[in-house]
Each structure stands twice: as C-alpha cells, then as structure tokens.
C-alpha cells in the first residue's frame, strides 16, 4: 500500500492496470460523443429549437456521424506550416487530455463478480495526484501553442498567444483554489480527498474556493464566455484555423475531454467524489456508498457539472480580452490567495494551536462583524459632482442630431405646443376663452 493514499492497489498487477486504462479511454471517447450531443441538445432547448433529432433515437448518433465525416474528409496540410510541429500539436493536446482520468476515482473498492478479487475503481493514485492533474493541464497548452505557431498564419498565432496567457493566468487561480482543499483534506491524493469528504463535502465550507475553481475551470478549457482563443468574430477559429480532417478532430476531442477532466476534478475535490448525496448516503447504513453504486453518483455529478458548462455557454456573452485578464489577475487570484491564507490560519488554529472549533468560529464572526461595521460606518467619500448633463445637452452636437441621454432633459422646443392645461376649477373660464380664441382664429 502506498503511504498517504486511501485506495489499496496491492492486488493490482499490470493486466488489471491495462484493463482499467483501456476502460478509461473507452469511457472518455464515448463520453465525448455523448457530450457533443448533450451540449447541442441542451443549448437547442435553451434557444427553443429542437437541436439534432435526425440520426438515431433523439439524434443520439449525430455526433457519430460528425466524427465519421471528420475522419473521411481531405487532410489538408498548409504549405507554410512547420511540418513536424504541425503534426505533433494535436497529438500533444489529446495525449495530455487523456492522462488526467488516470487518478480520478470512480468509486471505492469493488469485488469483481464471481471472484474474490478486489480493486479500487481507479487506475492509480499517488500522494501528489492532484498536482499531476495540473501538470497534465499545463502540458496540454503546448498543443495549442505549437498548433497556433506552426500553422504559419496570423490568426492561429494570435489565438495561440491569447490561449497561453489565458491558461497560465487561470491556472494560477485554479491552483490556489485547490490549495484550500489540500489544506483541509491534509492530502493531495484523490482517494484521500474523497475519503476526507465523508462528513461534509468541501464545497460547503470552502465555498469561495469552489466559486473561484468553477470560474477558472471554464477559463482553463477555453469555453464560452472565455473562448477568446477561438473567438469566431475576431480570430476565425483561433489556433485550429489551419487544421482540417482528423487533425482538427483531435483538437476537438481534446477540448471535450478537457471539459470532462475539469468537471471530474471539480466533483472529486469539491462535490464529494463518488459519495452519494446526503439523504441517500444515510440510507441503509451507507449501503449506497459501497460496491458499484458510487459509479452512478460520480456520473450524475459529472454530468451536472457538464450541464453547468453548457448552461453558462447558452447564457453568457463573450468577455472583452482585457476585461477578462483584469478579472483573472485582479479578482480571482487575490480572492483565491486570501481565502487560502484564511483556511491555513483556521487549520493551524485547529490542528497546531488546538483551539476548539467554536472559539475559531467566534473569532471569525467577531472579525467579520468588525469589518462589516467598519465598512458600514466608514465616512463616505464625497463623490465628485457629476456635471449637470441637462445643462450641457447640445441637441446638435457636431452638426448631428443627438438624442438626450438618460437624465437629460430636452430644451423646450420653439415650435412646441402650449403647456398642457391643468384642470382646476378657477381655470375653467380660461379654457373656454382658449376654445373661443381657437374658433375665432379659424
């Protein structure tokens, strides 16, 4: 048994590992086919249209048809491309994307039916498994970068540069969000982290870190609203522009596998991994947390997170690039860093100084209260007076008719009607007079 790892791999030999690896690859490939269908169907439902519904039952075979089309298309090689790198880039992308699931636990130990052979539902695990996930993600960027550079064309290069900056900045925030989980769980091995979530899933006590992780995982996978490396309106399709046929399909595959990867990490680290959700976990002395059931919970949670991906895509607009970077560096990273420090101090108080949890909570409440009062009672800085816009409205600024902005009033028009009449008893006569005037005027 490996020290610091909850899962027991002592019975596994090379053949078991091989079978598990093949099963993971098969799972990932079918999941990608399903994910493409799922995304198109859900987005279609959000946009009130049917979506793919022609091939197979409810259009399920649509992505298979698309995959076949990509396989059979002409493989175009760009003349100005740097041949070796151009071929290598999509391979790096897919290869790195496939590596991550090796450390994701699908469930606890199971006994293979009709034998007494037990094995964890996980290919492998080691004391730094989550760091390994981060390492694979950072290697996957090489695929994008080299793909963009080797195409020998402007848009792919710009897309690649954008994506590098994006992935590096969002990986920092992501890593910092994960640090708080490491501190609480006291381990970086995935099986140990899942084991530590038996009383409480980490997304409740570590909610700020969870939010930062969810935002940065979308940024990390280049998905809407953060899909700036392949923004169609600006960069055609970014680093994939010069790719066609199977090479393009590899990039496409890698993108969807990466979505599955970050969702699986989210489930494992924050959402309890393979553990059954609360009311079910109490059923029958935790019998739903044993045997083959956990695979079901894991998949349900995985697809719930995937649904969030699609939901966000169907709802939000793409950010402007500079706003996106400012958000990453000036909001996400400081928030994640500050929260990691808070968690570290709390954990130190509990484990090293051995202050009871109630005392720590009281201190937190007091600190929050003081901060709240300070913000509440802080004298408000006098805001610079807004220029009185009603005074400066120039209805023909620069020779063009300009409508009034909100808050501005139009000057009285020289051709305007008289002020509307007010119905007050003593003005009735006046009104009659006006009427008469009108008549006589004619």
């Amino acid at each position: 048994m490996i020290p610091g790892v909850a899962a027991d791999f002592s019975q596994d030999n090379i053949w078991v590992s091989l079978v598990k690896a093949v099963l993971i690859v098969v799972f990932l490939l079918t999941s990608v086919l399903f994910a493409i269908w799922f995304e198109r169907k859900v987005v279609a439902r959000m946009q009130v249209r049917p979506g793919p519904n022609w091939h197979g039952p409810v259009g399920l075979l649509q992505s298979l048809a698309d995959a076949m089309k990509l396989l059979l298309k002409e493989d175009v090689n760009v003349t100005r491309a740097d041949r070796v790198t151009y071929l290598l880039a999509p391979m790096i992308s897919v290869f790195c994307a496939l590596l991550v699931f090796a450390v994701i636990p699908f469930g606890p130990e199971v006994t293979i039916p009709f034998t007494d052979f037990t094995t964890p539902l996980q290919l492998t695990d080691f004391p730094v498994a989550v760091l390994y996930v981060l390492a694979c993600a950072s290697l996957g960027v090489y695929g994008i970068v080299l793909g963009g550079w080797s195409s020998g064309s402007t848009y792919p290069l710009l897309g690649a540069v954008r994506s590098t900056a994006q992935v590096i900045s969002y990986e920092l925030a992501m890593g910092l969000a994960l640090v708080s989980v490491f501190i609480m769980a006291g381990s970086m091995s995935t099986s140990q982290i899942v084991a530590s979530q038996a009383p409480l899933w980490w997304f409740i006590p570590l909610f700020p870190a969870f939010v930062v992780y969810v935002i940065s995982m979308i940024g990390e996978t280049n998905r809407l609203p953060f899909d700036l490396p392949e923004a169609e309106g600006e960069l055609v399709s970014g680093y994939m522009t010069e790719y066609s046929s199977m090479k393009f399909a590899w990039f496409f595959l890698a993108e969807y596998i990466n979505m599955l990867n970050v969702s699986a990490v989210c489930v494992t680290l924050f959402l309890g991994g393979w553990r059954a959700p609360w009311p079910l976990s109490a059923l029958g002395d935790g019998m739903l947390n044993e045997g083959w059931w956990p695979i079901l919970w894991f998949l349900v949670k995985l697809w719930a997170v995937m649904f969030v991906f699609v939901w966000v895509r169907g709802t939000l607009l793409r950010l402007r690039y500079d706003q996106f970077m400012v958000f990453g560096w000036k909001v996400l990273i400081p928030v994640a860093l500050a929260f990691a420090v808070v968690v570290a101090v709390m954990q130190w108080a509990r484990r090293v100084a051995e202050v009871p949890l109630e005392n720590t909570l009281v201190v937190i409440v007091i600190v929050c209260g003081i901060a709240f009062l300070a913000i509440w009672l802080w004298p408000e800085r006098a805001r610079p007076e807004k220029p009185d816009e009603s005074a400066v409205l120039d209805a023909f600024a620069d020779g063009y008719p300009v409508p009034p902005l909100p808050g501005q009033k139009l000057p009285p028009s020289p051709r305007g009607r008289r002020a509307p009449l007010e119905h007050e008893p003593d003005q009735e006569h006046q009104a009659d007079d006006l009427q008469k005037e009108g008549v006589t005027g004619e």
């Binding site: 740097d82 004391p127 730094v128 590096i168």
Partner: protein, 286 residues
C-alpha cells in the same frame, strides 16, 4: 550494489529507454536551427527528467518540475519566442563587458557543485527511500524544507519577490495621458464622423463565385465597388483586385464574352466601360 538501494528491472529499462532519448534531445537543443524546435527539445528533456524523478520515488519533485518549469517558465519562453521571433542571425556581441568570462566561471562553479552532489550520492551509503518517504513524499519534503532549511527557503523567497518587484518597477511606465476607455473611444469615433470616418465597422470584402478573398471589394446595393471593404494594407501595397477583372475572369470561365449579352450571372460587364468606374450588375441592368 550498495545496501538500501534497490533498482527494479522496470526502472532499469525505463532509464535505458529514456536516457539516450534525453541525450539526443539535449544535443538537439544545441544544434537545432529554429528556436522553437530547440525549446521543444528542452521540454522533452524536462518531461523525461520528471518521469525519472517519479520513477525514483520523488513524485513531488517530478510533478512540480512539470508544473513549474515546463508548464510556466518554458511556456513563457516559448511565448516570447513566438512573439518576438528569434532567428539564427542573432548577434554574438557581448552586451555586458566580460560576459563570457563570467559565464565560464559560473559554468565551472556549477560543475563543481554537481560533482559534489554526485559524489555524495555515490560514495555514501544510501539510507533508502522507504524511511525518507515513510510519512508520504510531500510531507517528508515539507519537513526538510520548512524545518531544516527554513532560513534558506525564506532567503530564496525574498530574493524571488525582490526580483519580481524589480522587474515590475523597471518596466513600469507612468500613465501620462488620460486612460482610454470604451466610452472615450466611442465618443472619439462620433466626433470623427465629420472627417469621413465610419461609425460602424468597415464592410467585409466581396464574396464571388470564383473568389471570396480579401483582395476583392464588395459591391454596394447600387453595384458599385466599395474600396474600404478591402484591407488598407492591401490597398496601399496595390494588391487590390478590381471587380471588373474578376467578373471578366469569371465570364471567361463560363464561356461568355464581356459584351453584356451574357446568359445570366455570372456575367461580364457592359462593353466599353472603364474598369475602375462603376460596374453595374447584370441583374440591375435588366
């Protein structure tokens, strides 16, 4: 073999597969022409090294090597290479006086340090990784780093922070003009309307049966070419294609003459028209 040091058959095989490849890649780093290829060779060496570390039961070191050096440092290198574009014709003049000698000296110092480390590893009897990794590898490493060597760690940390701050200070430029926001840009565009600047994005180039490249102008509703639809650079270089030429070429392919009585679109222009004046679409003529 010294006691406490056990090398399994798999590890030996891994070494003999990876080590020659690493040496090849390291040589490639020195002799490859293009800077990006050299960077890729270095990345290969780094990843193989990380695999070696993991095989030698130092998983934390191996993974951190990939995350920090390959994932961040090397990536920034590649970033600069791609943006700036370094080629073989870089000058070999010294920018700092005596740079070469300092370099040689530092190299020698590094060699001495490496020799010391290798000698220490070879001639002392190893304790064995079992005891070192008894409390899991990252925890044992943390105890060494933040227990025995905490002062050195802090010194390195301060040095790194100083370096980062120094880089920030050196590259910082004070903003002399007011900051350009989306609002000011929009206002400036409206103000520039009187100078003939378009408020909307420029029209896209034309799309034709034979050609939808950027060098051919679009046609406006009256059938006149819109010169602004071709990118400015192409116009200045004189690489713009006239619509007339394009329509003539299309007509030649279809097999009609350009006299105007063509059989449907795509058809040529009315004969005798000046190519740069306003060509009219056949549909409008009818």
């Amino acid at each position: 073999m010294t006691p406490g040091l056990e090398v399994s058959g798999g590890e030996t095989m891994l070494f003999w597969v990876l080590a020659p490849l690493m040496v090849l890649a390291a040589l490639g780093l020195l002799f490859v022409r293009r800077a990006v290829h050299a960077a890729m060779c270095l990345v290969f060496v780094m990843i193989s090294l990380a695999i070696m570390y993991v095989a030698q039961e130092a998983p934390f070191l191996g993974v951190v090597q990939v995350v920090v050096y390959t994932g961040a440092v090397m990536m920034l290198f590649l970033f600069v290479l791609m943006l700036v574009g370094v080629d073989a014709s870089d000058s070999l003049t010294e920018t700092i006086k005596g740079q070469r000698w300092i370099g040689v000296l530092l190299g020698l110092g590094f060699a001495v340090v490496l020799t010391g480390v290798v000698a220490q590893a070879t001639f002392q009897s190893p304790v064995g990784l079992e005891s070192a990794n008894a409390v899991t590898n990252p925890v044992a490493l943390a105890r060494v780093l933040f227990g025995d060597y905490v002062l050195a760690m802090e010194a390195v940390g301060v040095l790194l922070v100083t370096a980062a701050t120094g880089a920030l200070v050196l590259t910082h430029r004070r903003q002399l003009t007011t900051r350009r926001t989306q609002r000011t840009t929009a206002d400036a565009r409206v103000r520039a309307l009187t100078e003939g600047v378009s408020l909307t994005p420029l029209p896209a180039p034309g799309v034709y049966a034979q050609n939808n490249a950027m060098d051919t102008p679009a046609l406006d509703p009256a059938g006149r070419p819109v010169p602004e639809s071709v990118p400015r650079v192409l116009r200045i270089r004189g690489q713009e294609r006239s619509v007339t030429a394009l329509l003539d070429a299309e007509a030649a392919i279809v097999g009609t003459d350009t006299s105007g009585d063509a059989v449907g679109p795509p058809a040529g222009l009315p004969a005798g028209q000046d190519p740069d004046s306003t060509p009219t679409l056949p549909a409008r003529e009818a």
